[in-house]
Symmetry: C2
């Protein structure tokens, strides 16, 4: 199958590209190095030393496996780039990770908020119009986020909700109450993609993903030049990955506020499994299918305590410390999100265990001299300074 | 009160500015003449001859009433324009009509879709950031649209829905299934504004307006130089206004498809009443309040038949003709939308009557030599040509 990976230089995009290539698919990646540039501007970097660009990555992949991956260095908000890739590659499936993915980044100031929403919404609109005009039978597998739902006081369903109201019934999109300018951009995308399916008959699967943790997949372990990035900084790092790094370097685990914030989590190897399942079982023409993509729910405090316990096993003394929450969010709330559709398709979850955390410790230990402690505490605040 | 009117050169914006000015408020209008430019490009124009720019409009207003209205000619997507207006005028209320309002325009092609969403979303984000930093106590009165809801098979509530699910309950945003790239942009706005209220404590009222009809308000009738625009073309014209014009010039009333499309409608004088009620009864800090702003529901066919009947009263022979529907929408559907909150605040509706239609006929007759028949039939289609 011809599979286009948008955002193919990222934490998940690059491992996904290698996975589909290793399965024998014809893979083409697009990336504009937005994440790399944001790190350069901020003076931060991936913990893992990644190859210098996509050219170096696909050369290493060829040397290690004999397989080819095509590359376009370009911006999805540039219509000529998107049109050109669709016209020449003629994708049958599009895996779309190509967005600005950080909530703190999007909340920094007006410029970053407007950039985030414009970048994500326009990039995705371009993909939809390219599908409409150049690849109407292709299947879009779009990475959404569980954060689109927020933390409602009812069970979260997968994309839609059957609503009974005044004696009548309809199945409608699950209401969204997202928590940042970034999460809002994903909600906007969801509405736009739903429309393109309804009105143009496109087929799409929205993967509302939880928080991903882990460093390695089968392919990243083949050669150090094939490593994927691992962000631990305040802008691009995510809860469990950051806690593991903090444990290794002897920094207190920074829990925001009370730590009762509960979210869905999954291992990076399960992200690849889910994306493969979605690609191999496409949506029907006109269908906008939504899967909640995570395997377990944890509160932030539970995660911190798991890391503390795993640390004790290997002789690390780990402190858990509450810091002022930079976000505006409920710190104690009901949370129960359904996630059965990917299991029904065959997902076999790799659940979080002390063993996995221990192996993350080992990899982090190997690169600990690359850690910059100055970029661990949160700086971007959801509220204006005076309120 | 200092009231800022965004989109103050438009069909509703200009009459709203005059209304608040006539009440003794300090009014400032902002507009970038987007609508005038779109008409120039398309070779179309308002039926009514409007003053050449905002400068001419406010001069005429001053001559007729002795009152001043401030003007900024500028684009809301330009942060320096928005920042400058907020810093100097320090609004206490902001009435926001300043968006690209046409569904057919937004569906023309990729460029128009991307422009519509970028223009509307970025303009509104700029307003929200300006409020956050420069006018945190001001009240935003934002014009939304009933089209955000689509045509669900359940009763439409005003913005929120109490949902009972698996034994638990929450009040959540009413699910949205909008029908064009334009309507989607309004849904995006709604989510962004809701967020700004929740997280920054801003106060906002979203007026989900139905289709507006009518030509005159108390103020537009004072002097011909104070007329507001009246669009009848395929891009900016709306159902009832266009039907009245078609009746006068002897063109068949163009009903799209079966004509069972049911929507909420209101008279332009009730738009002004509703906006005044919202401004005079502001939302609480942190509150995102949603009102459904219309007074009556009609199907397109019912409207056409009303116009036909009113035409017969004054000797016009009016033909109703079904044309191929350029849109993708249900032509027969359940529709029942609540609209009690503005009535509770004191709205006294001016319902549609043959008398009102008759008086619209008279005004249209006065300007019938300005009509260009070439721009009445729909050209923008929701589906690609080959499907």
């Amino acid at each position: 199958m011809r599979i286009l990976i948008l955002g193919g230089d990222g934490y998940l995009g690059w491992p996904t590209a290698m996975r589909f290539s290793s399965r024998g698919h014809d893979v083409h990646v697009v990336d504009n190095y937005l994440r790399r540039r944001a790190h350069e501007e901020a003076g931060t970097d991936s913990l893992t030393p990644i190859a210098e660009d996509l050219g170096a990555r696909v050369r290493a992949w060829r040397e290690v496996t004999g397989r080819e991956i095509g590359v376009t260095e370009g911006d999805l908000t540039d219509w000529e780039v998107v049109r050109g890739v669709f016209a020449s590659f003629r994708p049958e499936a599009i895996v779309h990770y190509g967005e600005m993915p950080s909530a703190p980044y999007s909340m920094r100031d007006r410029d970053h908020a407007v950039f985030t929403q414009t970048n994500n919404v326009v990039g995705t609109l371009n993909v939809l119009w390219a599908m409409r005009d150049l690849a109407p039978d292709a299947h879009l597998v779009k990475l959404g986020t569980m954060g689109e739902y927020g933390t409602p006081n009812i069970d979260i369903e997968e994309g839609y909700l059957e609503i009974h109201h005044n004696g009548r019934t309809d199945v409608l999109p699950f209401p969204k109450v997202p928590g940042s300018m970034y999460h809002l951009s994903k909600v906007h995308d969801s509405h736009n993609i739903h429309f393109a399916c309804r009105v143009w008959g496109l087929r799409a699967t929205d993967l509302n993903q939880g928080v991903v943790y882990g460093i390695h997949t089968d392919e990243t372990q083949l050669d150090e030049r094939l490593l994927t990035r691992f962000d631990y900084d305040d802008v691009f790092g995510t809860a469990l990955n950051r806690f593991c790094l903090q444990a290794v370097i002897g920094h207190p685990l920074t829990v925001y506020g009370k730590g009762g914030q509960t979210r869905g989590y999954l291992n990076i190897v399960d992200t690849l499994q889910c994306v493969e399942l979605a690609v191999n079982h496409p949506a029907e023409p006109g269908e906008f299918r939504v899967f909640n993509q995570f395997t377990e729910q944890f509160s932030v405090l539970e995660l911190a305590e798991l890391v503390q316990k795993a640390g004790a096993q290997v002789g690390l003394e780990v402190e858990v410390r509450s810091v002022e929450n930079p976000r505006v969010e409920l710190e104690e709330h009901y949370y129960n999100a359904r996630h059965t559709k990917l299991l029904d398709l065959g997902l076999r979850p790799h659940l979080l265990s002390e063993t996995l955390i221990g192996s993350m410790f080992e990899t982090i230990e190997r690169y600990r001299d690359r850690v910059d402690v100055a970029h661990i505490l949160p700086r971007d605040r959801w509220r204006p300074p005076d309120r």
